[in-house]
Symmetry: D2
Subunit: 308 residues, 4 copies
C-alpha cells in the first residue's frame, strides 16, 4: 500500500529539504528571526497571560488507544521526610512516568517517516531504540518564542466546536485570518482552534479521540505559502478522524514533519485563549512554547503561554 | 533537634502568610502584575533568545545521592512503526521516567515543610502519597512570565565560579545588582549565578553536588525587601553545601517556600546567559519559565528562556 | 464511620498477633515447615507443571479504577544494538513500569491497615512514601513453596463460574474440600477458584472487575481453624463486589493481612489448573509461588507454578 | 569486525536450530521432561528452602554502565489511604520501574543476536521497539522447575571467590561436578558459582562489575554434551570481563541464547546455597525458577528457590 498521488504532489510543493542547508535539524524554526521576536514582544500591551497546557494528571486525554502513550503517572518518592533528623526541615519529592506525547506537546521532526525518510532526507533508521532520534531531537529546537496567532475556525464558522470528521480547509483558515483582522507573517506560530478539546474538558475522552475534526491535507500548502514557523491545534492527533482520504492516515504529519520540517502541536487547550482574543479583539500575542529539551526526543511536553 | 533561633527570627521577618488571603496558593507569583509583564516585554530589543535548561538525558546531574530523584530515562515505545500497513506513514513514539526535580526545575511550595506547616500555614499532612500536594501544587502556578534579572555573583567577584561552600551574601547580591546597572523591582525573577554548574558541564557530577556554593540564609530578607517573585540558581540543591550554619540543612528552602511562598529554581544553566549579558551589557530580559503543570506536584521541570 | 461489630468479633478470634513472637514479620508463612514441604514434594508423581500467572502485558486486568495500579508498560531500551562494533554480537534490553499489584500477585502484610495498625500490632505509620513498609515487606517472605490445594468452588457448585456478588462461604469451601477428596492441613496454600477470571480472558475487563464473587468475611475463620499458610483466588480484588455487608470494604483483607498475618493472592489464573485437577483426579500439588522480593513492598508479582 | 573463527566452529557444534522443530520457541527447556521433574522432586528430603534472588532495591547491582538497565525504583502510590471514609480499612499500594535484567534474572532467547539471527534461525528484526520479541519472549518459557545442580567452582578450586578475569573452563566444571559427587543429567539446570557476587554484597558495585570471572567460550560445549536445560551464575554479565578472547564480547551469550536456545541467568546469589550444599553434603535440589512472564520480553526477573 502506498500513499496516494495527491500526497506526493503536495509533498513536492511544500518540501523544505535543503532549504537551510544539508546539516539543518530545525526546519521552519529557522524562520523565527530576531525581527519576528521583536514583533511578538510588541504584542504585549496589557500583560495578560493565558496558559494553553492541560494540567498533567493520570486522568489525562489518553485512552489506551495508542499503546505506550501513557497518561502522566505522578507519584511521591518522599512525603515530609525529616532526613536530617526530627524537627528539621522535611522534604517531599515526586517523580513521573509519561508518554512524551501524552498531553499538551510538540511533535518532533523525527516523530514520523515515510518512504524511509525523515526531514531533510535523512534515513528513518537514524531513529533507534537505544539512541532515539539522532537528528532533529527536540533538544535541538531551542527556545520557541514567537508571535502567536489564533485562527479560531470554530468561531469564524459560528459554531462552538467543529463536528467530528470536519476537514479544516485553507478557506477555513483564510476566514479565520479575516476574523482575526491580521495577516499571517513569516515566523508566526499558528494555533488552529476547532473546539474539539471541549469534549475532553467535559469528561468525554472517547468522544475527544474520535470522530475528530482536523486539518485537511490541503492546509500545509497554506502554511508553507506564508512561511509559518509551527502549527498547533486542540485535538488528540492533529488529523481528521476518520481520515479525509480513505486509507491516508497521518498525511498532514508527514507533510509538516517530514517534508516541511515544521513542529506541530496537539492537545493545546485553546478555549480560554478564544475567549480572551474575543474580549481583547485581537488574535496575536507573544507565544512562549519551548519544548522540554529531551535529548533525541520525537515528542515533548510543553507548557505554552500566550502573553497579551 | 530544632532549627536555630536565627532561622526563626528571619522567618518572622519574611513571612507572607495571609498576605494574599487565607486561600492563596501561589505566594509571590502574585507580585507579577500586568505592569511587570509589560516592563518585561519592553526588555525585548534584539529578539535574541537564550535557553536556560539542561538537556534532559539519562546522563543528567543526579548521582543517586537523593533517592528517587532519578535522571530522565527516555525510551522509545515505537520506532518507525507502520501501524496502518506497509508503505504508510510510520511513527516513532517515546516516553520518560524522571524525578520532577531531577533536572532544571522549579521547587513547588509543597516541597518542604517545617514544624508541620507549609506555605500559608497549611498542614504539612496535606501532602500525601496518593493525593500529592492538595495545596500549592505546581499546576496552580499558572504562566510564569516576568522580567528576569541575572545577578552574576561570580562575575561581580571576578571569578569564573565561586568556590565550594561559598555563602552568597546580601552584599554579594548588591554588588551583582550594581554590576547589572539596574534596580531589582517588585515582581522580578532573579537568577543568581555562582558558576557551579560548570563542574557538571565539564563532566564532574560529584564535584557539582558538593561542596557547593549557595545562598546564605541572610539572602531571603534581601529578596523579601525587594518583593522578588521567584529566584533560581545554577546549583544542584540551591543551598550551600556543607551548610553555612552547622546542622541547619535546607534553611533557605524553608524560608523561601514555606515562609515567603516563593518558587525557587535549581540546575538552571546560566553560563550562556552570563556571556550574553556581558556582551549585550544589560542584565534584564523577558523571562518565560512556566513549569510543566503537574497536578499536585512539589517540583516540576521547566525550560526557561531569556529573551533580549 | 467504623467497622461493624461482626468484623471486630471475627478479628478477635482469628488474630495471630504475638503467636510467633513480637518480632515476627511473616505470619502464617511460619506454618510451612520442612515436613509440609516434604509432603508437597510427595505430590509430584507425574512431573506435569501448570502455570498460574497471567502474561504480563499493557493489556492487563487493570482498568484505571484503582489509581496508580498500572498495567505493565514494557518497553525496549535497546534493539539489536551492536555496541561493540558492526558485526559483533548485538543486544536487546527491556524495562518495565508496573503496579506491584497490577497482575498476578501476593498482597503483602503491609498492604492494608485498620485502626492504625498492621500485622502484629505495629503502627500503620511504619509504612511511608520514602521507606515503604518498614515491617513485613515482601522481601521478608522468603521462599514460598508448599503444598497447594485447589478448592474449586465453581466446580463443586456445578457452575462454570460463580455469579457476580456471590459470597463464597465456609460451606462452599467445605464442599470443595470434599470434592477434592482430601483434608486441608496446616501449612497448605489454598487456591479458591470462582471462575471469575474467565471474564478477563474473554476480553471483558469491566465485567471482571465488578460485580465479582469473592470470599465471605466468614471464611477467614475457616482458614484460621485449619492453619492455612496463604490463600489466593482468581478475582481482581479478592473480595465480593459489591460488598457482602454494606459499607464494609476490604474486610477480608483486614482479617487476613492485619489480624492473621496471612498473604493473599489475586488475579491467579486457575482455569487450566481446574482442568488438570479434574483430569488427574487430585487437587493437591507442589506449589512454588515465591514473590519477587521487592524491599519494603506491600505487593509483589509472582509467577506461581503447580507441579503434579 | 566479525566474530573469530573459533566462535563459528563452536557455534556449529552446539547449535540446536531445528532440533525441536522449526516452530520451537523454547529451546533447551524442552529437555525438562516429566521424568526430570520427578527426579527433581525426589531431591526434596529435608524441606529446607534456599532463596537465590537478590532483594530488589534502588541500591541494586546496576551502576549505570549499561544504559537503561535501571535498578528497581519502587515507590508508593498510596499510603494508608482510607478510600472508603475515615475509620475504614486503609490501603497502601506500590509500583516499580526497573530494567528487566537489572537484578536476578533470566536472559531470554531474544536478548542477543548475531549475523542478524536469533534462536532457531529467526531474523533479529523480529525484535522491535513496539512489539518486543515476536518469538521466544519469556512469557513462552512456561514453568521452569527442574533438578538444580550447584557447580561450586570456587569451592572446588579451594578459594572463596575466583579472581577477576578468571575463565571458568570445562575442566573447572568437571572438577566441581566431581566435588558435587553426582553426574549432570539431561534437563538439569546448572548453577555455576564463582563467588563474585560477594563483592556486591560487601558494597563494592564497581568491583562486582569488573574485572569479573565468567564462563569460558569452551563451556557451552560441555553443557551441550550433557543436555543441560539452563545455566545461571553469580556475576553481573555472565561473561568474563575483560573478555577471554580479545574483541569477542558476549560470545557465550551468543552460543547459549542464539545457537543452543538455552536460557541463562545472572546475578543469582549462590552464597547461602554454597553453604547449605556443603552442610547437607549434596549439590542437587529441586529448583523452582519461573521467570515473570512478560510478553515479548528478552529478560525477566526471577525469584529462584532451591528446595532440599
Amino acid at each position: 500500500m502506498s500513499l496516494p498521488d495527491e500526497f506526493h504532489e503536495i509533498a513536492k510543493r511544500v518540501s523544505n529539504w535543503g532549504r537551510w542547508g544539508a546539516a539543518d535539524e530545525t526546519g521552519t524554526l529557522n524562520l523565527i528571526t530576531g525581527a519576528v521576536v521583536r514583533s511578538a514582544a510588541a504584542c504585549v500591551t496589557s500583560g495578560r497571560r493565558v496558559p494553553l497546557a492541560l494540567p498533567l494528571r493520570l486522568d489525562g486525554v489518553q485512552t489506551g488507544l495508542i499503546p505506550g502513550r501513557v497518561n502522566p503517572l505522578h507519584t511521591m518518592v518522599a512525603v515530609n521526610l525529616e532526613m536530617f533528623g526530627p524537627g528539621t526541615v522535611a522534604t517531599s519529592d515526586d517523580m513521573v512516568v509519561m508518554g512524551l506525547q501524552a498531553a499538551t506537546h510538540w511533535d518532533g521532526l523525527g516523530h514520523v517517516s515515510h518512504a524511509g525518510r525523515i526531514y531533510n532526507g535523512r534515513p528513518a533508521s537514524s531513529v533507534t531504540a537505544h539512541g532515539r532520534a539522532a537528528f532533529s531531537g527536540l533538544e535541538k529546537a531551542g527556545p520557541v518564542v514567537s508571535r502567536g496567532v489564533l485562527l479560531d475556525v470554530a468561531r469564524a464558522r459560528g459554531v462552538e466546536r467543529l463536528p467530528g470528521g470536519h476537514a479544516v480547509t485553507p478557506e477555513d483558515l483564510s476566514a479565520a485570518e479575516e476574523l482575526a483582522g491580521l495577516t499571517i507573517a513569516a515566523g508566526d506560530i499558528v494555533l488552529v482552534r476547532t473546539g474539539q478539546i471541549q469534549r475532553y474538558l467535559a469528561g468525554d475522552k472517547d468522544g475527544y479521540a474520535h470522530p475528530s475534526p482536523g486539518l485537511s491535507i490541503r492546509t500545509p500548502e497554506w502554511f508553507h505559502a506564508r512561511d509559518v514557523a509551527a502549527v498547533a491545534n486542540d485535538t488528540l492527533t492533529f488529523e481528521i478522524i476518520p481520515p479525509e482520504i480513505e486509507g491516508l492516515w497521518l498525511g498532514v504529519h508527514a507533510l509538516h514533519l517530514v517534508e516541511m520540517g515544521m513542529l506541530q502541536g496537539q492537545n493545546w487547550n485553546l478555549e480560554q485563549l478564544s475567549r480572551v482574543c474575543a474580549e481583547e479583539r485581537r488574535y496575536s500575542f507573544l507565544l512562549a512554547a519551548t519544548p522540554e529539551p529531551f535529548v533525541g526526543a520525537v515528542g515533548a511536553p510543553v507548557a505554552p503561554v500566550a502573553v497579551f
